[in-house]
Each structure stands twice: as C-alpha cells, then as structure tokens.
C-alpha cells in the first residue's frame, strides 16, 4: 500500500521493522568505526614526553568547543549560526518529552524535559539557522568550492529530520500518522547515515579534540 492510502500502516512500518533495521545498522556501524579508531591507535611515539597528556587534552576539549575570539572575528557567521543550530538540534533531540520517552524505552534512562512550546521555538530557530548555513554554503565563494555531495546530503537529512518534526508537532501535514511516519523515517535515515559519513563527528569530535591537546601536551607545546 502507498503511504497516502495507508498512513497508519506507514507509521507502524517506520515505528516497527524499519526502526529495528535502522538502529541495528547504526549500532553496528558506529561500534565498528569507534572500535577501529580506538584499536588502531597511533604509531608509538618513542620520544620522551615533555609534559602530561591528560590536562592539555581536556583543555582542548573545552577550548575548541567554546568559540574562540580570533575565529569569531574572521568568520562570525559560521561560528554563530553553527553554535545556534547545534545547540537547538541537541535541545530538540534530548530535551523534548516524546524523545525522552523514546530514550527511556530504549535504554531505561530518562531525565526531565523542557515544555513543548519552548522546544518548538528552539526548533523554529534551528530551522532558520540551518537554512542560513545552506545559503551561506551556496553563496560563499570558498565554501562553495570546498563543498562535496556528502556535505549537501548530510545537510539535507539533518534539515529534514528537524523540519518533519516541526511539521508533525504543529500538525502541518495531514493525516498525522503520515507526518510522524515521515519524521521517524528521516530520523532513521539520519541514524543509518551517521556512522558512514561526516555525521560520525557527533561521537568522535571530543575524542579528536582530546587527542589534539594530548599530543601537543606531550610535546610541550601550548594547546
């Protein structure tokens, strides 16, 4: 049956078998990537360490996460919109009550959520910021040339997940099972693509930030 003729069937498919497939691919892919990265490690460094690794490592985790003034001056747009939509995305994903219920169902852990209207506002801001990043990418002479198909692909899934969530919550697609099914479908696409694209950075970014600082620290360079 097509989705228009059987919206409930579509929703149950995305909530049932498809979700299981997506979450399995996600878990398998992510564990494989992380195991590979961590086990592979780095070439042994036989030089005498000049200083500790841990502290500088942790320092870069923090410093590279906070916007630094120099970069901000050079590219205020990138820093600001980037920050806004990342925060918005995480708020919608982790502090929206239906999502918390999902995480509770999956892992048994839960935490307090934010009121729906607040998450909705954050979502609207996130959508605008995400749209702005695309416009910027398409118009900025250097960024445009640096962008690959993959960049556009992951922008599209990210945007679509948030957009369909917004459309579902605000009842802008009818019937609702179709709207929610589309949202869950795009979220599943996101999950499936995550381990195999740049989206993996969600899980590797802090490892990488730590590693940078640690290797500087070892060499006695300021991180």
């Amino acid at each position: 049956m097509t989705t228009i003729a059987d919206p409930m069937g579509f929703l149950l498919f995305t909530k049932g078998p498809l979700f299981n497939i997506a979450i399995a691919i996600f878990a398998l892919g992510l564990a494989a990537r992380l195991a590979e990265i961590l086990l592979l490690g780095r070439r042994p460094n036989f030089a005498e360490p000049r200083a500790g690794e841990w502290l500088p490592g942790l320092r870069t985790v923090v410093t590279r996460t906070l916007p630094d003034p120099g970069t901000f001056k050079r590219a205020p747009f990138n820093v600001l919109t980037g920050l806004i939509w990342h925060v918005g995305f995480l708020v919608a994903l982790l502090l929206f009550i239906p999502h918390i219920e999902l995480i509770k169902g999956l892992f048994g852990v839960s935490w307090p959520g934010l009121p729906n209207p607040f998450v909705d506002l954050v979502t609207a801001v996130t959508l605008v910021a995400l749209a702005a990043t695309l416009v910027h990418r398409l118009t900025h002479p250097v960024k445009k040339r640096l962008s690959t198909i993959e960049d556009y692909l992951i922008w599209a899934v990210t945007f679509l997940v948030v957009l369909t969530g917004y459309l579902a919550y605000n009842r802008l697609i009818n019937p609702y099972p179709l709207a929610l099914g589309l949202h869950i479908l795009t979220a599943e696409l996101f999950l499936i693509l995550l381990p195999f694209t740049k989206l993996t950075h969600i899980f590797t970014v802090f490892i990488a930030r730590w590693y940078n600082g640690a290797s500087f620290g070892r060499r006695g360079v300021q991180s």
Partner: protein, 366 residues
Amino acid sequence: MTTTKHRVGEHLRDQGVSRRAFLKFCTASASLMALPPGLIPAMAAALEQARRPSVIWLSFQECTGCTESLTRSHAPTVEDLILEMISLDYHHTLQAAAGEAAEAAREQAMKDNFGKYLLIVDGSLPGPDANPGYSTIAGVSNYAMLMEAVEGAAAVIAVGTCAAFGGLPEAAPNPTGAVAVMDLIKNKPLVNVSGCPPVPMVITGVLAHYLAFGRLPERDAYHRPLAFFGQSIHDRCYRRPFYDKGLFAETFDDEGARAGWCLYRLGCKGPSTYNACATMRWNAGTSWPIEAGHPCLGCSEPRFWDAGSFYAPLSVPTDLSSSRILTAGAAGALVGGTVATLARRTVATAATSRQPVTADELEQTL
C-alpha cells in the same frame, strides 16, 4: 420490522412521531454531520420522501459489541428513530426469527430489493484463501455469504474496526486468515465506521446521511466519513492545553493525573487516532475515555492491536529490544576490531619485510 408504509415520513407518523420530533431529529443529524443549519429544511423534505431502505446486517467474526453500542441507548433516542427509518430485514442477533426462517427472510429481502438494499457488516471474515470453517452461518462460509449479499447491495457499511480493518481477529498472528470487508469489495460504494466499538451516533449519522441524500457521505483515505473522522482525538481533546504547555501525567495517580493533565506519557494514541469520541462522547454523553483518565487506545485505526503497548507513548517504537542493539553493537565492535587488527598486521608485515633501497637502485628502476 414489518410495515406497509414505505416512505420515511408516513412511517414515522404512523409510529406517532410528531413533526417537531422529526425536525429535531433532522437538526441533531445535521449538527452531527457538521452540515450548516440552513440545510435542515431541505434535509427534512428529502427524508420525508425517502423510501425506507431494506437493510441486511451480516455479523461475522465479531463480539456483538458494535450491535450493543447501537442498541444500548435508552428511548426515545435518535438511535431508535433511525432504526424506525430503515427496514431491518435481517440481523441474526436482533431479529425474532431464527434458523431457517431467518435465512429465508434474508434471501427474500435480497430478492425483493435487489440492487437497492443496504448491506451492513460487522466483524471480519476469513479471506478467500483461508479455511472457511473458522466462521460459518447456517453452514455457509462468511466469504460466500458476503459475496452473495453484496451482489444486490446499493452500498455497504462496514461497522466496527473488525469489519473496517480486520480488528482483533486479524491481529498477529491472525489464526483465521481474517480480512476486512474493504479488502474484498472493490466495486460498491463502501463506508467504514470504525471504532471498537464505534460511537453509536456515528452509525446512525451515516444512515441518516444516506437516507437524506441518497448517497454515502464524504470519506477519508480509509473510507471513513469525514464528518466524524475528519479530526484526530488530539485536535479535539479538552486536555490539549496541557499538552501544549508540556504538562503530563506520568503515572495514573500522580499529581498530574489528579489535575487532569495530558496522558501522552501514559500511552495516549489520541494524536494518531481519528474518531468522534472527543466531541460526541460515550454513554449518552456522560464522558469518554480520556475524560475518565485513561489514554486513548487508538481503537478506530487499522492494526491498533498490533501497534505496540497501549501504555507506551506514541513516540516509542512498537518492538523495542535493547539486547538487539547490544548485539548489533557487539557485532560492530567485532568488525571494527578485526579491521583494526588486520590493518596492524599489514603494517607489521610491511615493516618486517622492508628491504633497504639505495639511491642508485632507485634510479635504475626509473
């Protein structure tokens, strides 16, 4: 059940129904179907002149809850009136006749009103490929009886979620091979009045519409009448302001439950369920499930028995298993580990088998 008067108007007058009562009925039906009040006079005129249709009601794999729903209201009601407007020629629970006399009445009505009778079905039935022995009436399989009865029907009304979508008999693993009426009937006007059971006024509303306008009402993708199924429970729920503010009951007896907050976290399927409960309510308007403090089960939607726990929130997938995720993760770690080990081995063998090369040797290979 037997009467000589064929026009609705005459018949009602014979039954002692006053003109005012009739007008009131028309007003209630129009309001029910969200028709503008300006249409009431025309509707009354059409109903007056309408012929009382012969109705054949077939009950297959069902629990009789739908018939209970229709007849469980106290007189004098709109439901009673509508039953006066039709000529219910066969309904094996309600009719006085039984056995061969009942089957003979059905065949007679089908013959006399060929092409004009209304066929109402409650219950699902074993499909053409299933064992017909799971459900028979007077030795005739449900499938054969339906197909025979549908031949001469002007329109088909599937009453209840079982007839409309398969319902409980069709729930996994569907031992009887049950199918919905709409899976079998493609060439007749068909309306699904889903619900487990359906709101009684919705059944009568559809009948009133058919009588007044001579055709079935506007329907949605599932052939449900839009006047009753056009909006979700959630969109008409009086607890909606709490949802919009993010105030949820988390157990059945916490502060939130007592204060009447939204039941989303307790598994309410109101957002994805289309039905008229929120406005028409149950038991002669006394209350309805959400008002009584229980989440909506989604009973008017296809496959609601198989849509996961009634008490799991709508956002939770139907068949969760953390062990599956752990297994997938472990398999992934294994794959990653193998890849890493292989890579290390390649590097190591490359290192051991490395042959020093001089600049001269290199030059020669060029």
